[in-house]
Subunit: 471 residues, 3 copies
Amino acid sequence: MTKPLRLHPDRLFPSDPTTRDIARRLHATVRDLPIISPHGHTDPRWFAYDAPFANPAELLIVPDHYAFRMLMSQGVTLDELGVPTVDGSATESDPRVIWRRFAARYYLFRGTPTRMWMDWVFAEAFGIDVQLSADTADHYYDIIDAALKTDAFRPRALFDRYNIEVIATTEGPLDPLDHHRAIRASGWSGKVITAYRPDPVMDPDDPRFMANVQRFCAMTDEDAGSFAGYLRAHEKRRADFRAAGATSTDHGHPSAFTANLSREEVEALYAKVTTSPVTAREAELFRGHMLTEMARMSIEDGMVMQLHPGVHRSHNAAVLARFGKDKGGDIPIAGEFVQALKPLLDAYGNDPRLTLILFTLDEDVYARELAPLAGHYPALKLGPPWWFHDSPEGMRRFRERTTETAGFYNSVGFNDDTRAFLSIPARHDVARRMDCAWLAQLVAEHRLEEDEAFEVARALSYDLVKAAYKL
Amino acid sequence: MTKPLRLHPDRLFPSDPTTRDIARRLHATVRDLPIISPHGHTDPRWFAYDAPFANPAELLIVPDHYAFRMLMSQGVTLDELGVPTVDGSATESDPRVIWRRFAARYYLFRGTPTRMWMDWVFAEAFGIDVQLSADTADHYYDIIDAALKTDAFRPRALFDRYNIEVIATTEGPLDPLDHHRAIRASGWSGKVITAYRPDPVMDPDDPRFMANVQRFCAMTDEDAGSFAGYLRAHEKRRADFRAAGATSTDHGHPSAFTANLSREEVEALYAKVTTSPVTAREAELFRGHMLTEMARMSIEDGMVMQLHPGVHRSHNAAVLARFGKDKGGDIPIAGEFVQALKPLLDAYGNDPRLTLILFTLDEDVYARELAPLAGHYPALKLGPPWWFHDSPEGMRRFRERTTETAGFYNSVGFNDDTRAFLSIPARHDVARRMDCAWLAQLVAEHRLEEDEAFEVARALSYDLVKAAYKL
Amino acid sequence: MTKPLRLHPDRLFPSDPTTRDIARRLHATVRDLPIISPHGHTDPRWFAYDAPFANPAELLIVPDHYAFRMLMSQGVTLDELGVPTVDGSATESDPRVIWRRFAARYYLFRGTPTRMWMDWVFAEAFGIDVQLSADTADHYYDIIDAALKTDAFRPRALFDRYNIEVIATTEGPLDPLDHHRAIRASGWSGKVITAYRPDPVMDPDDPRFMANVQRFCAMTDEDAGSFAGYLRAHEKRRADFRAAGATSTDHGHPSAFTANLSREEVEALYAKVTTSPVTAREAELFRGHMLTEMARMSIEDGMVMQLHPGVHRSHNAAVLARFGKDKGGDIPIAGEFVQALKPLLDAYGNDPRLTLILFTLDEDVYARELAPLAGHYPALKLGPPWWFHDSPEGMRRFRERTTETAGFYNSVGFNDDTRAFLSIPARHDVARRMDCAWLAQLVAEHRLEEDEAFEVARALSYDLVKAAYKL
């Protein structure tokens, strides 16, 4: 028996009729605003070459760590889901088989944002009107597979269909930015920009760090043997990235630790980390000092900084060995920002030219540390709820815990932060609905006037992100 | 003036009429499901010998640390409540006096789960229709005391009355399991099983550890002088426990720390901890390594592991000295699971034959650590909200913070975890109501279809616990 | 265009009609109870000399760190807001200019408690009926400025108008208490008392610590060269403060750390800290031991202790250098109470003569540590949500996370904790509304009977604070 699939127009709105009515009114004014996507991991090749997506499994399951981590937790192996291996040994290669495995266990996603995003994609993007289950797996597969063969489902068409005003991808410091150049050269009107993520040349714990620094300096004609040369290499690459549209940098450090070493100290440290094995403390010091250097460069060149700390990457040793990084085995750890950021803030925290956007997976710091910091320092802003908290409850907790101390105007709107293209409009839909739901509650409890809520709803959906990211 | 005591049929359901109606419909389908109680601390002698409970104070106050800790916090001494002392010195011996002290301060429990459980027991089990207060203390005492003298209030009758399908007690590794044998020998149909809690022979910080290990090996005819003998003693006792129905082990460690030492290292450590004073680090290493050994044995014999870390036991030195352990002075401490569990997970985390159920009193780790871990590793499941969080708000926070990342199906239903027999149905009642309230909210906000909610409600009340604990 | 300013009679009540009706009924019975303000930072000179407040900016912006920290975070400098400097160098001196800067950015406070308190002051105290904005800045300034020139807006008149039964200020151990003497000598009937905050003579990390101790002992004719003399100086000053009405002490330590050293150890430590530079550990040990001494003295003289730990004071180095302390740059840090308080609790935790009221800015400890501790130890009580958590969401989280384990009766009512005089009634208004909202939810969900809720509402608004602070 198949059940109907419906996207209820009131989804995510509170059930109380007064509050729901306010939420509806607010949402009607932001629902159709263009999407600004200032941080994410879509593939620039999609937009450069506009090739069709391969098949339903390749589009929706194989690259989605939210999807396969849940299946894995319930006993489906990554082999059975066709996740590619590090050594190239074979995994499941039949996309229909993969799809069926997913469909049969789709009930596992009840109550998760993945379920909400996927249903949006099924109903809204593909027009499917029955729920996904073992019984409807093939029906789904056939519809999606057929759609993907049409021009309407090529990346650029979807970009237009979903009213994306601008989207940022994320590239490493060694990336030649060819795809971004190809996008511009193509004459296509879509605005796709890059962002500068220099982790591979800033993290001495990366096994390829020394080689990366050599390559980094070689591609910029700088001397890898001197810290001054290394800094100039950053400046040159930042300029390259800005030429490819970048307005931001991004930093995925193990913690928010910063340092501000003397020139003498950092030169000695640079010499050490680029030539010999380092201790954990030396690696941390180098990363921490480089965040402060990045802040300085941001003040000079105007790029917005983003800091994403606090993840134990690739926690599952067996998964890392067979399938590599980013395979659903990243686990958050406790965070600390007050001590950690002080060196950088002592140097640049009061400079209005700096914007440093903070993210966390440790919600405990929202009210305790992040909102008090962002509600004081001119340079700090609060990034939206991130990753595991890009969800209805995560968004609710973010607003409940940050608004009273940091207000709305020290937050920066929404990031979809995804490599799953079709989930972009689905995620913005959730974010806009949850923000309207929160504002509606404030209005219904007479903590905010309704006319103000309309202004704030627009700010959270559109204005703040444009301003914060300089888009 | 006496006030009526009522158990409102809509208790714990949201007030919003739409959501309440959904909650009612869901609850009607799970209200009468049998109780599965896979983890608790009832006394097997109750079921073996079916003797009547002594009196109202002995049944409801003297053994209930929730009850006397609150009274103590407001100035009533444990002496005045008849709590037995370590040295046998006298405390209050008149159960009616104890009862009156409790009754006069029953208002202190407003807003607590103890109040909710007690009212359920008063109204539902004893049919009392006025509220407990100083004025009604004797009325209560007389009714309850009289009831306890009837056959209907003997343990086995209550077991049947409350539709308990299976209940697990918890025994230490030195327990002869005589009472469980007596239950089976009695021919009574009730299913009462044990669980293996080897803390006394796994924790070198226990003052009786060395003596316990000697006795443990003696009772299994194994050589306490070798680690191999000690491991075989575990294997034999696990088999004994399984013969007494056990499907699970339980581990009450100070932290979730695990280790996976080489055989050489652990043999040296075993020799040290069983023969001489140990450092805190050695004790932790031994406990941590033994968790990994327990995981290995679980894979071999199929017993489910439960880990209950993170309590500072017997914090109140004066209470410990006069009254001993488990007297309301246990206080939670901050937890950490990501680093702590890695050695065990590296060894067995991907093995589908292992089930390791995690509990915490530090709610901060729900969203940050436990849900991400359980939503990835096949071996991990989330235990229900524990102890201080076995409460309406505790249950709400658990679902709000874990569902989006781990889903419903990586949780394992409810544990009552109690030594207060009559609170068992009261606690399951609260859990079923709160789960239905949460599901009703998801349905009312169009985050879940109502037909799915019925399936999930049943899973949370009955199916998941049977499956996870192999009952 | 100006918009009307309204204080909605249902503000902060839940929107659900059933729950709202209960909240209204509860609130009607506590709305007009006198204000008990047992902890705060009003200036005793206001009450001693009853001089008019200077102007709108001096009354409402320049001294309010909630106000100027938000403006600063959005790029307004403290110079532009007329905040006085350490070296006396000039900042903005025109109060109307300051007021206009605030008014133009009043939208930044949407969703914050500052907005709610300010609107209360504007509407209720000054009778203004349009919203504050750039357009209405001068209108506001003129109305408020004129009002402040009238007798009705002098401190004593406001004290009477807002039905303040008793208010405590906070003074340091070197304060001569002259203003409090002047209040009493004036014959005015208002009850204004002091509280003893000995941090300046208990914290060896304070740069003026040694000089402070010398002066402290000199003013009490005690020998600063001996620990016994130093303790007697405390005893004498505590007696002085009690003579000025004090019923409490207050301790603003970096952490909740306590110690209970032997007499020999503490004498050696005292000799060290009062004569030579100290290590961080020595300073902590001394502060920690002195908390235990304060507890002992409290048992002797009956003064209630308050502990406010866990703030990184003056995090912003540039703001500290130019503007000094208490300028919005204080940031909370993670807290730990279980280990930290054990030495003090081992000594005095079970003594019913001691009341130690605990505060925190780290909400994670509410459910994990503070509620379990306060729900067990006779000496411990829970202070209300503090500082950044003196807010609707902060109050909701406090009740949600503490009530189930500590009940209502281990909490102590509300503290306004403010130096902004007119915010006192505004803050009590928020607290009473939020407590009634929480109680209404419990009643609507049948977790509490309505007749009990009336008793609890009164207790939370009035009875508990009087009892806990012995007022």
